[in-house]
Amino acid sequence: MKRKMFLVLVIVLIAALALSGCGKKPDATTPTPQQPVEEFIKIGSVMPVTGAIATFGVSSVEAIELAFKEINAEGGVLGGKKLKLYNEDNRSTAEETATAFQKLIEQEKVVAIIGSVASSHSLAGAPIAQDAKIPTISPTSTNPAVTLIGDYIFRACFLDPFQGEMMAKFALNELGLTTAAMIVEQESDYAKGLAQFFKQHFEAGGGTVVQTEEFSNQDKDFTAILTNIKAKNPEFVYIPSYYDTVGPILRQAKDMELNAQFGGGDGWDSADLFDLAGDAANGGFFSNHYSPDIDSPEVKKFLASYMAEYGKVPDALAALAYDAAYLMARAIDAAGSTDGTAIRDALAAITFTGVSGNIVFDANGDPVKTGVIVGIENQTQVYKATIQP
């Protein structure tokens, strides 16, 4: 009997080790002990480096590292102090985002935070930063509720009402489509918000939403809801989710010959979409924050330095994270100290021209800026139009 108990214990221990092992991967950004002691300003970031939306996190961290490297090379902030990034991986979950915010604030004592990507994640983490009075910029959380958490929470991107409006207007006016169906992920604040605003503007512009289908983020079989949509024969199908679910949906839709125009939001912006959807993504459109095809000095400089550093074309996640990193650095300089309240006040008053356009914050901490529509042709992204707010 004792031997058996022992075996059970061993198995439980192995399982426990496996569980804890993946959370504690050594972070590339953690300082090594060999480094000479230097004065650093600690900036935290909470990004999904692994998990369902991992490409978003990887792009964001790469872009922030690049921005910090450039800023540090030009003499840092506050008269020579270097910026140092402490990234925590939230493994694409809201729960781990909250833990990561807590850890950055209480253990690492960061002065500011950049993060997170998904709106549901930011909504879980940002209240902790607000309570601790740590200024926080989310590069890409587009749900309106994110900055309403408090006056220490900002974002670098436009909001879902505008993003939904962009796609509604593009479908109505540019594509000339008047009937639409929506496929909405129910656990996602981002998807639900976008669907709501798309519907509002699409119907205000004279279109009709003929069918709305819901799914849960664990679903892999979308054939049933796609058959329902096919029965209604809509001209446009709006899927405002992230690439990890959009990919399989597009693929299954193609399999069943659902012949409609597909569209979505900035959650489509990942090279992995083409891995998951294959050629089923061709012909789709999505609203985005930036396109590498835009002709501006900021975009050109960013494109050149990102390509030199990582050897690939930066996506919008990278562009916004890069802008967020610069915003934070400029705000620290303008504040003249690393005091949370001073940085917050400086951020609120900032005027900044970044890769993703001009950024001036309104009273909520939201920027007012333009958006772009990107089309997918031969599994590559093609810039289609810029849409003014």
Binding site: K4, I11, A52, F222, N228, P248, D255, A277
Partner: protein, 298 residues
């Protein structure tokens, strides 16, 4: 699309999902039949099978049929190893101990998958190994070659299993062990070998289900085994746990019910409905559709 066309199309969707559930449910049912263990790690074997198939196609460049066979062989061996290491030492222990171990093994595999660099937590697109052909049964109702293949392979494997269980010596041994392990041993049946074989067979079927599921729905990811595994468990209970034809029918039924719920516009409760069925079966007819009520030996 008329209502009839919709119903037929949804039935096809349901049967192709159901045939995957049926394949997984067979493994649950066989293992339960032989050692009275609900092997909760079975869903993870399904996931691992899908990944082996994925790597066989993407890395080794093998054709689909070769990939599915490799996945089945790999998981058969894995199933035997798991049985030998995790369940065999507990064979005489309390049943709850083995059950908890199964839950532990399931978590172990999920987390090991995340920890492995080439699997990780990001979903991957399953390659289009087969040229997609669409066969139109009637106007607006079509079935793809992927789905036909899924149903075909599932049926073939089920017949093969029936043959093994009823026509071979090993099958006879399996049935004997499931009836009474100790007496079977007295009759000269190698019980350990028989149990090992059962795990191998069940795991191979789960692996095949995993590869077919990935082919149909286009994605492989570390937690893909969780819900199909649980639903296959519901299917096995619905059909009468321990009964092989019951698992097949249960799987088909759960697949069709799930798709019907989505088709009726309640896609958010499709999982809940499957588990409600589990509760109802346990309350009303615990032996399942095919089961006889047998009094527990005291």
């Amino acid at each position: 699309m008329t209502i009839t066309q919709q119903v037929i199309q949804q039935l096809i969707n349901g049967i192709s999902l159901g045939s995957v559930y049926a394949l997984i449910a067979l493994g649950y049912t066989m293992v339960y039949g032989i050692i009275r263990l609900i092997n909760f790690a079975h869903g993870e074997v399904f996931m691992i099978g899908a990944f082996v198939g994925y790597f066989a196609i993407t890395v080794l460049g093998l054709p689909f049929i070769a990939a599915i066979i490799i996945a089945m062989v790999f998981c058969a061996i894995l199933g035997m190893i798991v049985e030998r290491l995790a369940y065999k030492p507990l064979r005489k222990a309390h049943r709850v101990a083995a059950l908890m171990t199964a839950v532990g093994v399931s978590m172990f595999f999920q987390n090991a998958a995340i920890a492995l660099k080439w699997i990780g937590a990001s979903p991957k697109g399953f390659p289009r190994v087969i040229e997609v052909q669409r066969y139109h049964i009637m106007e607006n109702v079509s079935i793809t070659s992927d789905r036909l293949l899924t149903m075909g392979v599932a049926l073939l494997l089920m017949f093969l299993l029936q043959f093994i269980v009823h026509k071979t010596l090993m099958g006879k041994a399996m049935r004997a062990v499931s009836l009474d392990k100790d007496t079977a041993q007295l009759m000269g049946i190698n019980v350990d070998k028989t149990i090992s074989f059962t795990f191998a067979l069940g795991s191979a079927l789960a692996a095949a289900a995993g590869v077919l599921f990935a082919l149909n729905y286009g994605v492989v990811v570390y937690q893909m085994g969780l819900l199909p595994g649980l639903k296959a468990f519901v299917s096995a209970v619905l059909g009468g746990i321990g009964i092989i034809p019951g698992a097949m029918l249960g799987g088909m039924l759960i697949g069709i019910v799930e798709v019907s719920v989505s088709a009726a516009g309640y896609s958010m409760v499709r999982d809940a409905v499957a588990f409600t069925i589990l509760i109802l079966v346990l309350l009303v007819r615990p032996a399942g559709l095919f089961g006889k009520n047998v009094r527990e030996k005291v």
